[in-house]
């Protein structure tokens, strides 16, 4: 298929529709607003629903409603908006409702700013809402993946009856790159649990409440089984020049692009450096990192945050080799030269 030069945020919307998503509930926020705007333009034209909600909270619960009805549905926002949605996200996970949430992360805490950030890692991956749940979290690093991983998010959400998050940043969302769109999905998994507005609904209940401790524990254990399955089957990552690497750079999203260039420049200077890019932030490629830790001399994690994913890398490395960290915050994006400088300093130390 021909390629189209398109913004990542718009690629999300087209990918979602190609995946069979027919409902979008949103609320404007920079730098995610183009997603709602593109949804407002395309969803009604393809027989779908677009609704601008009165709040982030309302939009996540409209999603809860549409997901209860078994249709593929989504919302998109940016960090402060995601914070507001966290209550609903916990309910969605508790009620096992598949849906897709896009987070175009911006600088925080508080109002912060609108520049690119990865400060939502903990909020999304570790559970910003209450209770013991997990979100399948995909981290695209280009416009093509904004489409592809949004489509994948719908598949995984349905497969696991769980919300899935596409977590990107302002750069990935705002950037234009060529995208080749796949054919639309035409067959969808059966959802015998979903409400359809028909007689069989009398046997169906969407809920997250269970006042009996044993009952709720059973439910939570059931969720953990699903999560364990996802950890076995859904880990996705990309490696670049790791075969002979002495130092592995680890970064996701826009940072992985910087690190890709860093690897090239470092190799040009004779440093044996490779890159591991987690594509799924949860489930996290812990096992692969543990394997690599047996044969490399160090890892360096780079994030647009104070060091959040680095905790998971350190858990996987388990003290076998040093794990260095370099983070920029507040929307500052380091240059390749800067990362290379830090890397060389670390190696020399």
């Amino acid at each position: 298929m021909a390629k189209q030069l398109i913004k990542g945020n718009e690629a999300v919307v087209k990918g979602a529709i190609l995946a069979g998503c027919r409902a979008f509930f949103g609320y404007p926020i920079t730098p995610a607003s183009e997603i709602a705007e593109a949804a407002a333009y395309y969803f009604p034209q393809v027989g779908g629903v677009f609704l601008q909600a009165e709040s982030e909270i309302a939009s996540i619960y409209m999603l809860y409603g549409a997901a209860s009805a078994g249709i593929r549905a989504m919302t998109a926002s940016s960090s402060p908006g995601i914070s507001l949605k966290m209550e609903g996200i916990s309910y969605l996970a508790g009620a096992e409702l598949p849906c897709v949430i896009v987070d175009i992360v911006r600088g925080g805490p508080g109002l912060g700013n609108i520049a690119p950030s990865q400060g939502d890692y903990h909020q999304i991956v570790k559970g910003g809402g209450h209770g013991e749940y997990k979100l399948i979290t995909l981290a695209p690093n280009c416009a093509q993946e904004m489409c592809d991983l949004t489509m994948l998010a719908f598949e995984l959400a349905d497969k696991y009856r769980n919300p899935a998050v596409v977590m990107a940043d302002g750069f990935i969302g705002q950037m234009m790159e060529p995208v080749e769109f796949p054919q639309p999905v035409s067959s969808f998994p059966d959802k015998p649990w979903a409400l359809r507005g028909e007689d069989a609904d009398q046997f169906r209940l969407i809920t997250s409440i269970d006042l009996e401790p044993e009952g709720l524990e059973r439910h939570v254990l059931h969720l953990q089984e699903k999560y364990a399955q996802a950890e076995r089957e859904e880990v996705r990552f990309e490696e670049y020049q790791t075969e002979d690497a002495e130092v592995i750079l680890v970064g996701y999203g826009i940072v992985s692009r910087l690190l890709h260039s860093t690897v090239d420049e470092a190799r040009a200077k004779g440093l044996r450096v490779g890159l591991l890019r987690p594509i799924t932030l949860w489930p996290f490629p812990s096992r692969r990192i543990t394997e690599l830790a047996t044969r490399v001399s160090a890892f360096m994690v780079v994030e647009l945050s104070n060091g959040q994913m680095v905790e998971d890398v350190r858990l996987a490395v388990a003290g076998k080799v040093p794990v260095w960290f370099y983070g920029r915050m507040g929307g500052v994006v380091p240059s390749v030269e800067e990362i290379l400088r830090v890397l060389r300093q670390q190696i020399e130390v």
């Binding site: 939009s59 234009m176 690190l259």
Partner: protein, 482 residues
């Protein structure tokens, strides 16, 4: 013919299997609680209207959190206050269903105030049953937004004070001030006469939804003997004698006669012409028109373009990226975004590359296109040694000071002005850059122009601007670049 037996409605489950414990034949409500009465009126209306099989009932947070134990229909249990938003999502997904949002006063009028206000204002085709018992029952008798002034609760132990906690919220009146709602009535579950009115109101509210007329809400004054610490009989007297003085019964909105049905569109999965509707180019990839072979010093450019908002900076970058894609390059275009776009400066980063693009961020540009003085001042030092600076010399009143870069000064705005539109200066520069470096061919620009210039009548002007820039650059190309 009137029903000859009044018995448990078939819209209730025979046995409350979802209710934990041994007692599955009795509700969980306290003796004398109004919820059960309202449940019966709703179930009876579902029977009589023949909608049980397509009804979806939303259980809120509050004493009726377990309404799903009882109603034999689709059931959804939701978070505190969010039922109208969930109802919206369900109804939009399943327009044929009958969606009931069942809410208490803390749920609807306090934590869910925003959701109910906007669902009502959107005219959602849902039916809300709002139980007003002036107290938080489930959590043990705290103050509700509808608690009366002077009423003692566990969080107003000395009585509610209007000047500190505010007066009670009159939800029916408040929502009736909106344009959209079709039917709003306040009833009381007290005397046989009032219960008969409530019964009618419940049926009417649901029939409004069946006819797709719009939003309907029944506010139900309902007894909470446990919370009020009264006997059930005293409780219904208190409603009639005290509550109704502040919450008068009656119809606050009834547009059922004049409202027109507004059925929601059904969700469609029709794949016919889906790609067209999504404006996705179909068919095979376009062949590369011609592979440009720029002078090596101009190959794989990392370009920064900067100027005022309104100069078409982002568009210039987009045109370059489009042309690059058509010429077979990997490309990326990254804008500065947000408030700075509105008024102040604008800049974007464009990369055309033969190989995979790592960082799309151009921190050391090989090409700087500066369209105003602040941009030149700010970005001139960033340009890599041996790079190229193009600037609009009709707006920038100083020469480039760097000696280690190549410079092309283009009076772009003046040239565009001569063509009749200063806003075409960006295309003059684009033409110049392409002519000067050969990074793409002229025909690539012609090819992509209709994609980036949305207003067809402007294509010709932009074409001419590109041509002017092109000629200008060819005339000023130095020996080094040929």
């Amino acid at each position: 013919m009137a029903e000859m037996v009044l018995r448990k409605s078939p819209s209730f489950y025979d046995v409350y299997e979802r209710k934990p414990g041994a007692i599955k034949y009795q509700t969980h409500y306290c003796p004398g609680c109004g919820h059960g009465i309202l449940h019966k009126l709703i179930a009876e209306a579902m029977d009589e209207l023949g909608i049980r099989d397509r009804t979806i009932l939303i259980s809120p947070v509050g004493c009726s959190v377990f309404a799903y134990y009882y109603f034999r229909c689709g059931n959804v249990q939701v978070a505190h206050g969010r039922a109208p938003a969930v109802a919206t999502g369900i109804k939009r997904a399943l327009p044929h269903s009958i969606v009931i949002s069942y809410q208490g006063d803390g749920d609807l009028a306090a934590i869910g105030g925003n959701e109910i206000l906007h669902a009502a204002n959107r005219g959602e085709r849902i039916t809300v049953f709002f139980v007003n018992n002036a107290i938080y029952g489930m959590t043990g008798g705290q103050m509700a937004p509808t608690t009366l002034v002077g009423q003692k609760t566990t969080t107003t132990p000395f009585g509610r004070r209007a000047e500190m906690e505010g007066p009670p919220l009159r939800v029916a009146e408040l929502l009736a001030s909106l344009e959209s709602p079709v039917y709003i009535e306040r009833v009381a579950l007290t005397t046989p006469k009032n219960i008969a009115r409530a019964r009618k109101a419940v049926r009417k509210a649901l029939s409004v939804q069946m006819q797709d007329l719009g939003f309907s809400l029944v506010e139900v004054l309902s007894a909470c003997p446990s919370g009020w610490k009264m006997t059930p009989v005293d409780s219904i007297r208190w409603i009639d004698e005290v509550m109704t003085r502040y919450f008068p019964l009656g119809v606050f909105r009834d547009r059922t006669a004049e409202a027109k049905p507004m059925p929601l569109p059904k969700i469609s999965y029709d794949l016919d012409s889906l790609l067209e509707k999504l404006e996705i180019p179909s068919g095979e990839a376009e062949g590369v028109i011609a592979s440009p072979v720029p002078h090596p010093r101009y190959a794989n450019p990392r370009i920064k373009i900067a100027g005022f908002g309104g100069q078409g900076i982002l568009l210039l970058g987009q045109a370059l990226a489009e042309a690059g894609m058509t010429a077979g390059y990997r490309v990326s275009w990254l804008p500065s975004y947000g408030p700075e776009m509105r008024g102040g400066t604008a800049n974007c980063h464009v990369i055309l590359s033969d190989s995979r693009i790592g960082s799309p961020l151009v921190s050391r540009p090989s090409v700087l296109i500066a369209m105003n003085r602040p941009s030149l001042d700010r970005f001139e030092p960033e340009v890599e040694s041996g790079g190229l600076i193009l600037y609009d010399s009709s707006l920038i009143d100083r020469p480039v000071t760097r000696r280690d870069v190549e410079v092309l000064a283009i009076p772009a705005t003046s040239m565009a002005d001569e063509l009749g539109n200063t806003r075409a200066a960006n295309m003059v520069i684009l033409g110049s850059y392409v002519a000067y470096t050969g990074v793409v061919e002229r025909e690539h620009l012609t090819h992509i122009l209709p994609k980036v210039i949305k207003r067809k009548q402007l294509i010709d002007l932009n074409e001419r601007a590109i041509a002017r820039g092109y000629e200008y650059a060819l005339m000023h190309r130095t020996a080094a670049s040929t």
